[in-house]
Amino acid sequence: MAGGGSNEVKLLGFWPSPYVLRARLALSLKGISYEYIEEDLESKSELLLTSNPVQKAVPVLIHDGKPVCESSIILQYIDEILAGVGPSLLPEDPHDRAMARFWASYINEKLVKALNQTWGGKTEEEKAEGMKQAADAVETLEGALKDCSKGKPFFGGESIGYVDIMLGGLLAWADVREVVKGVKTFDPAKTPLLAMWSDNFGTLDAVKAVMPNIGKLVDYAMVMQPHGAAAAAAAAAAAVAATN
């Protein structure tokens, strides 16, 4: 339609953010075209501040001028109204939907928090505690994958679903963690299903199209690390916890 007003989709983002990556993965997998706008989080745009005044954080999806905030909410919105191609991100059966929501919540509450702590913990003890909790969470998710996938490659079964994207958004930083800290988040020796899952996920064209450059992300992480715990925490907070 002329004028660019109807059904126009914009995404306000910040390239290191795993939450922004979740939104980009969903849009890419669904084949939805949109305008991507990179935000400078140190100098936030008027559009960002008016679209998300409560959190002033990314990602923000703007559809037909109306903002949607929080990656989990954006994913559900995309599924409900943008649809696009392919099967739904959320299953049809109410109980299966509840399980997907449960695991998405678990990923945010347990795994993301723990991983943030491994980067931004104020002491070595805090970071180590984060590492342990992250490992425990990944182990639990291995069981979740087994239950949800029922032998298929993804949490969503044959195709990528809501939980796959919620977890998949974290893969870029998992790669960075391996390079910088020598720790495999999805270790084939400990969690073979998840290791295979991350490979399967990573090879999809729609995923490769939006994954940030790992070398660039490593540089970003390294630039922040040597300046001490406070700066690392601030960087981790900005990049990794811009919004859930």
Binding site: Y77, E92, F102
Partner: protein, 255 residues
């Protein structure tokens, strides 16, 4: 409503089709619904109110959280917490997840919990997060800080967040955050309607006054009197004792 939001008929068709595709659960066959809960948990009440909106009959099971039942541990092995809703033997845990399940499973029954419009639904889900992310921690901090400057700061921080809600409610111009009736956001905030007055009484200091928060103050009374809520409230005197004991503990253990 859709005519305002959508200029594309194709998008409207897709939306309608998606909603038609979601299978309505067959409630005509015998269904067994159990709610595992604990009398003082606000999350349990949130679920009770949601079940009430939908008119669902269920069996309530009181759990002793110091001595968790094998049923609870079996149905929520990950968190071992209440509430857990068990629908025909299948468990659902986490109150926000349970409420979305209740909306999905009893689609077409009773009242709506989530808005019909997808964007409004996204906004409602966003405001649900406001409670644990921004509001509750600050109110809790105010309640558990002994006094002095630290408590004043906690109170100010709480007031700041409450003002956000006051503005939202005033601008909305409705009886409830959900419109004419209790909705998802009301359910998420709901426990504060009885908790805040209790904290105020225990501390001896007001937080939400009619002067400062005319809309929110009125909403609190309206919420507690609303049909899905009024017969499903915790035993207030027992709860007050419990909160008093908590406050004493925190005051004693501070500084």
């Amino acid at each position: 409503m859709y005519a305002q939001s959508w200029s594309s008929d194709r998008a409207l068709d897709q939306l309608a089709q998606h909603h038609l595709d979601l299978p309505a659960m067959d409630h005509q066959q015998e269904e067994k619904v159990q709610l595992l809960g604990m009398w003082a948990s606000p999350y349990v009440y949130k679920v009770k109110w949601a079940l009430s909106i939908k008119g669902v009959e269920y069996e309530y099971v009181e759990e002793d959280l110091r001595n968790k039942s094998s049923q609870l541990l079996e149905h929520n092995p990950v968190h071992k917490k209440v509430p857990v809703l068990v629908y025909n033997g299948k468990p659902v845990a986490e109150s926000d997840v349970i409420i979305e399940f209740i909306e999905d499973a009893w689609k077409g029954h009773g009242g709506r919990i989530l808005p019909e419009d997808p964007h409004e639904r996204a906004m409602a889900r966003f405001w649900v997060r406001f409670v644990p992310d921004k509001l509750s921690p600050r109110i809790w901090k105010w309640f558990t800080t002994a006094g002095g400057e630290e408590q004043d700061a906690a109170r100010e921080a709480s007031v700041e967040q409450l003002q956000v809600l006051e503005e939202k409610l005033t601008l909305g111009g409705n009886e409830f955050f959900g419109g004419d009736s209790v909705g998802l956001v009301d359910l998420s905030l709901g426990a504060l309607a009885y908790v805040i007055p209790m904290y105020e009484e225990i501390i001896g200091e007001r937080l939400v006054t009619e002067d400062m928060f005319p809309s929110l103050y009125a909403w609190m009374g309206r919420f507690l009197a609303a049909p899905p809520v009024k017969d499903h409230l915790p035993p207030m005197e027992e709860l007050k004792l419990r909160f008093r004991a908590m406050r004493e503990y925190f005051v004693k253990n501070s500084a």
